[in-house]
């Protein structure tokens, strides 16, 4: 087992594909907590998040031969889970807001620079309290950046938007967070 833990994700994927499918459990163990945490923040429902994460791992298993081992497995699995979360939200649109509302737009257009006030560590502490009030796209980007500590490049791969868009959503998300927090 110690040998397995020293393997990279790519090496493990290769082993699962070519030698022993049971080793997929190691990959699941590596990512289950992170994905659950992410899905819970996006969906705000623990039971649904568990179902979605299980579905994501099954889907990833089916498509494992399509994964390019030169790419990051974490971005790939996050992407699958993210898509399933979005699909779930779309199916239950009435319960969870996916898009921006008027308040969001007004807050974003109020061009304050809050960078100085809210540094990364401070945001990380406060982010959980206010995250659930934000639209999904800002919730995703803020969770990936502050909670999962992903880079712009990784977030760009998970959400399939440019790094510039990631930066914009992050900046708008911070503004929104500050407004929610001040309320």
């Amino acid at each position: 087992m110690k040998f397995l833990s020293s393997l990279s994700d790519g090496e493990l994927v290769k082993l699962v594909r070519e030698e022993d499918q049971e080793l997929y459990a190691v990959l699941v163990k590596r990512y289950q907590d992170k994905l659950l945490r992410y899905a819970q923040r996006i969906l705000r429902d623990e039971d649904v998040a568990i179902d979605i994460v299980q579905e994501a791992f099954i889907k990833a298993f089916k498509n494992l031969n399509g994964f390019n081992i030169n790419k990051k497995f974490s971005s790939w699995i996050y992407r699958i889970a993210h898509n399933l979360c979005i699909d779930h939200i779309r199916k239950n649109k009435k319960q969870i807001s996916l898009e921006e509302n008027e308040w969001v737009k007004n807050t974003i257009s109020n061009g304050e620079d809050i960078e100085a006030e809210f540094d990364k560590k401070e945001i990380k502490k406060k982010v959980d309290k206010v995250l659930e009030k934000l639209p999904v796209k800002y919730r995703s980007v803020l969770t990936l950046y502050y909670i999962e500590e992903k880079t712009y490049e990784e977030i760009s791969d998970v959400l399939r938007v440019s790094k510039g868009t990631v930066a914009t959503w992050l900046s708008r998300g911070k503004k929104l967070m500050k407004k929610v927090y001040e309320k």
Binding site: V28, D33, I50, F57, I58, F61, R160, S162
Partner: protein
């Protein structure tokens, strides 16, 4: 938190075993990737050909030689001579091509708006150049395309007599 104590790995492995879930074979992804590439190339090639036909239609009806942009001429030109069907097919092919290109990784890594504008420009330019080098004239007399071009050449309706003095047909 419930999830902190959870270990999904056993449950997932059980589901995989119980439901006989198999990994899709490697060739499945190779084929999907090939079909995707083939579809993109086919759509772009078709769009180039349609774009060329638009320029051809405009040329054979001498639309390009009308200098006067009088409103009457423009109205009749748009109503009777402009190849709207080709134009709609071009838009459709272009939209489908863009939709498929969006699935590629470069679509979000590069400047997407620039890629789309570049593709549109390239389609129009290639259509214009294909027509200018006389591809249509050559294809027109070849068997599989002859009938197709006969249909292309038929003007929809003749232009009415010019209402504005000095306007040429």
């Amino acid at each position: 938190m419930k999830s902190k104590k959870l270990d999904l790995s056993q449950e997932i492995m059980k589901t995989i075993e119980k439901e006989h879930i198999k990994m899709k074979p490697h060739w499945h992804f190779v084929l999907a990737s090939f079909l995707m590439g083939f579809s993109v190339v086919s759509l772009i090639s078709m769009a180039m050909f349609i774009s060329n036909l638009i320029f051809f239609r405009l040329r054979v009806h001498e639309v390009m030689q009308h200098r006067a942009p009088e409103h009457i001429f423009l109205w009749h030109f748009l109503r009777y001579r402009f190849p709207w069907l080709h134009f709609l097919i071009l838009i459709l092919l272009f939209a489908l091509g863009v939709y498929l290109l969006k699935k590629y990784e470069f679509s979000y890594k590069q400047n997407w708006k620039l890629i789309v504008l570049g593709l549109l420009g390239a389609l129009l330019l290639s259509g214009f150049l294909i027509d200018r080098v006389g591809v249509n004239e050559r294809l027109q007399h070849r068997r599989p395309m002859r009938r197709f071009y006969e249909q292309q050449d038929l003007p929809a309706k003749p232009l009415p007599k010019p209402a504005v003095k000095g306007m040429r047909r």
